[in-house]
């Protein structure tokens, strides 16, 4: 079995990679962790998100300006000790930072500098191009919260995400680059998942992830979604609700993976 690599020289900007605003937000995210700058970068970030109409991330950045959340995003155990509820909220703030498309995880790593992602699929080692391991403070949320998020995802979150992809000209173009036919893109526009693909939570609902579009990616099912699921399960399967662990997490880039067709599966 050959490694799954899309190693042709990537363009300067691949589908689903960050645009200029994402870079600005990412820089401000990182600046929010610099001692002495206090809440200024986070509040500036919140303002920029609000102006751009991204109220979800605006609220998140505003929350990150609160010292406790800042601590949590830096992965300290202090938030966990502060109580299960606070830990869950703080962990979610931390992981939300990690999944902003193409952005830094807010944990001291530079953009895209994580280790390449390798996984076993049917006994063979597979490297997934563009997927890097990021250090994440992983907090397993309460079961009732997870159930509510699952319900929201099945009740419309998945469909809304798919519709958003097809209705955004930039993202629709990226879908074409990923190899989707016009009929398949029409399928996506109707809110249906095309054959051979699934919608993956970059950070699972079972733990700190949400249904925010930035946490979702349309992923080719076999072998990629299976491989990522097995790795994630191995990393966090031991956790009980409220439990936390720092883990190296495989982060799928962008909103469609793989972003180019012709990647040879094992």
């Amino acid at each position: 079995m050959s490694a799954v690599q899309n190693s042709s020289n990537p363009p300067s900007r691949t589908p689903g990679s960050p645009d200029g605003w994402d870079v600005v937000h990412g820089v401000l995210d990182v600046a929010g962790f610099v001692p002495g700058l206090g809440a200024v970068p986070d509040l500036l970030n919140a303002g920029l998100y609000a102006v751009r109409g991204d109220l979800g991330n605006a609220a998140l950045s505003a929350a990150a300006a609160v010292p406790l959340f800042g601590d949590a995003a830096k992965g300290t155990a202090m938030a966990v000790k502060a109580g299960r509820g606070l830990a869950a909220d703080a962990g979610e703030a931390a992981v939300k930072r990690a999944v902003r498309e193409g952005g830094d995880d807010g944990l001291g790593r530079a953009l895209g500098t994580g280790q390449p992602y390798e996984a076993l699929v049917r006994g063979e080692k597979v490297t997934l191009d563009g997927v890097t391991m990021r250090s994440v403070e992983y907090v397993k949320r309460a079961r009732d919260e997870a159930a509510e998020l699952r319900k929201a995802f099945d009740g419309g979150g998945r469909k809304d995400f798919l519709v958003s992809l097809a209705s955004d000209p930039r993202k629709a173009a990226a879908l074409r680059e990923a190899g989707f036919s016009p009929a398949e893109i029409e399928r996506i526009a109707s809110g249906r998942v095309p054959q051979g693909w699934q919608v993956h939570h970059k950070l699972p609902l079972d733990d700190g992830g949400t249904n925010d579009f930035g946490n979702l990616v349309l992923i080719k099912n076999d072998p990629y979604h299976i491989a990522v699921t097995n790795t994630q399960r191995t990393l966090t399967g031991h956790l009980e609700p409220g439990g936390a662990a720092r883990v190296e997490w495989p982060m799928i880039p962008g909103f469609v993976y793989p972003a180019k067709p012709g990647v040879t599966a094992p």
Partner: protein, 154 residues
Amino acid sequence: MTATTMYDNVLSKIHEEQREAGEAVFAGASDARLADLVEEARATFGAPLPDDYLDFLREADGLDFNGLVIYDSHSSPEARTGHFWQGFVAANLAWREDAANRRCLVFGDTDTDLLLQDLASGEFRRVDRVGRDLQEVFPSLRAMFEQVLAERAA
């Protein structure tokens, strides 16, 4: 209600939608094919296959619809059926890279769930695909399939 008609309505609806959308629709597996699958599964995983699963495959040898995948009788990376290549044996071998999945048979999966039989208890369970937290226990595999098919077709 017979085994065939229990799936008929929802499967017919799904297949009709898939044909209209230009997606692949798979006919039922032959008895000979199913006999081979039963033998391969027993040799590979040491477990028998539930009759409900074989009944489903007689109606549709695999399904890939709106993020729900029910594995077919024979596809593999080496022998694909169109672009559908999640055969029962190949998919279970992939899942078994995770030790927790070696105690079950997985018949299908969705964006968020695994649809499986726990081999120790014999229960048919829908579990979170990452955390493996139990979402629901069904009285039969047929009941589980019927529910997830209806959800995905909604």
